[in-house]
Symmetry: C2
Subunit: 242 residues, 2 copies
DNA sequence: AAAAATAATTGCGCTGAGCGCAAGTTCGGG
DNA sequence: CCCGAACTTGCGCTCAGCGCAATTATTTTT
């Protein structure tokens, strides 16, 4: 797991093709640090109980280097959802064009958020390892997500999904995000749906599998896309306040 | 603006009725601190350039007391959107029952987010003062919202809107939030719509007034409520990944 | 292949946010 | 009028985060 000893099981299969060797290594250590942050957070029941030094040590770098990549522990954790958001947007844009909008969106999300399936992308495999490696599960995740201090940053990083999704949704709908609010609203709704479904799954003890919950929620939110586009200039007929 | 000298223009009209005198004073200083944080943030173009001591001084309390109410500068700023969220939820639940769902929601939001209208609630009046008192406007707000460090906390506090809205939406729809995801999804979508509309209004220079933008966005998001309720147990017919 | 240029890592030391503690102050109830 | 509880304040400590400058690794140039 250290940045150096890791040179690298399956050298060619990395998350995002990197250009120069330097850049590759940079991404690798970056990811290493994030993973270390995640592990320690789960192990210690909360980011609060993890010092930057520990993270740095686990990742095999100096404390100073850690702060060189991320300006806070929270940012280190947040990099993971951020990356995932990028992958979801990519997956969505590569869905077959004849697929219904909501299905394409839902499956793109589900495919990435579901850790299972084939040993695909490297980071996913690692995350699954961490999860599978015993002990960590709903319970641990819950304590992390509920942590008062980390949550704002975590959610902000999950909100990357909205950012990444907006342009591809706009393209698929044939709308210009600079002219029409609809793509942004749909993206925001989908992002919210993912968050809500996850929270629901984590907190209420529900029988339905996470996958089904996610798919349902996203498809529901995606239905917004069938709204008529918003004419920004003109207000609706008459609805002024009394 | 100090906590002491402010004893209080229009003593009876306070945001939330307070029980004991002590509790009232507590809420008052709390609000004072938040307002001070907002003012200074706007004046100095970013929370980054404001020290806790300055906020405390402006609010007329000691630095230690400041940290006694809020454990970070960001939290102090975030209290304002949080309070506003509570007012919106209240306003929505008091809308006439025969009003269409989306209209009720949109108007509840617009009424609170629009600073104008009558000199209603005290905090709104103050905020308007701040805004009106020259210099601060879109531009200043933009620099605040775009600030890297404060944004996560700000957005998290705006997300209070979702939290507050969920139960009242569920009630109006006749659904149980513990059984059905739809109320949460609608609330999340509305929250996202507000955020998106605001961002759009702040960044693209658009001709439409903020009010119209907000109303449109919220009504669009609220349309989700007409989705058929989600049967959590059963998945849709067949949509497994290949 | 060596040397020069560029980029990444590291150690050191400083600033300042946030908090525990204990003393002082204000307020409500009997 | 006085007692107890809640609130405020000052002091001092810890540690996250960052600027700086030196060191090491990597790419490019000659």
């Amino acid at each position: 797991m250290s940045a150096t000893e890791n040179q690298n099981e399956n050298e060619n299969e990395n998350d995002f093709e990197a250009g120069s060797r330097r850049e590759r290594k940079r991404l690798e250590t970056r990811n290493c640090i994030s993973q270390a942050a995640l592990q320690l957070t789960l192990e210690n029941n909360g980011l609060q109980n993890v010092s930057p030094d520990e993270i740095a040590e686990r990742a095999g770098v100096s404390a100073r280097t850690f702060h060189n990549y991320f300006h806070s522990r929270e940012a280190a954790l947040g990099a993971l959802p951020g990356d995932r958001a990028r992958r979801v947007a990519l997956a969505f844009s590569e869905r077959p064009a004849d697929e219904p909008f909501d299905v394409a969106l839902a499956e793109a999300v589900v495919a990435e958020y579901t850790l299972g399936h084939e040993p695909g992308k490297e980071s996913v495999r690692k995350l699954r390892e961490i999860m599978a490696n015993g002990s960590f599960s709903k319970e641990a995740l819950r304590t992390v997500m509920d942590e008062e201090g980390a949550r704002p940053h975590l959610l902000e990083s999950m909100r990357q999904l909205e950012e990444q999704l907006t342009p591809v949704i706009a393209e698929r709908l044939g709308l210009d995000p600079a002219q029409d609010l609809l793509p942004r609203i749909v993206a925001a709704a989908v992002n919210g749906a993912v968050r809500v479904a996850t929270k629901y799954w984590l907190h209420e003890d529900v029988q339905a599998p996470y996958t089904a919950l996610l798919r349902q929620a996203v498809r529901t939110a995606a239905a917004l896309a069938q709204q008529p586009a918003l004419p920004l200039g003109a207000s609706l007929p008459e609805n002024e306040n009394p």
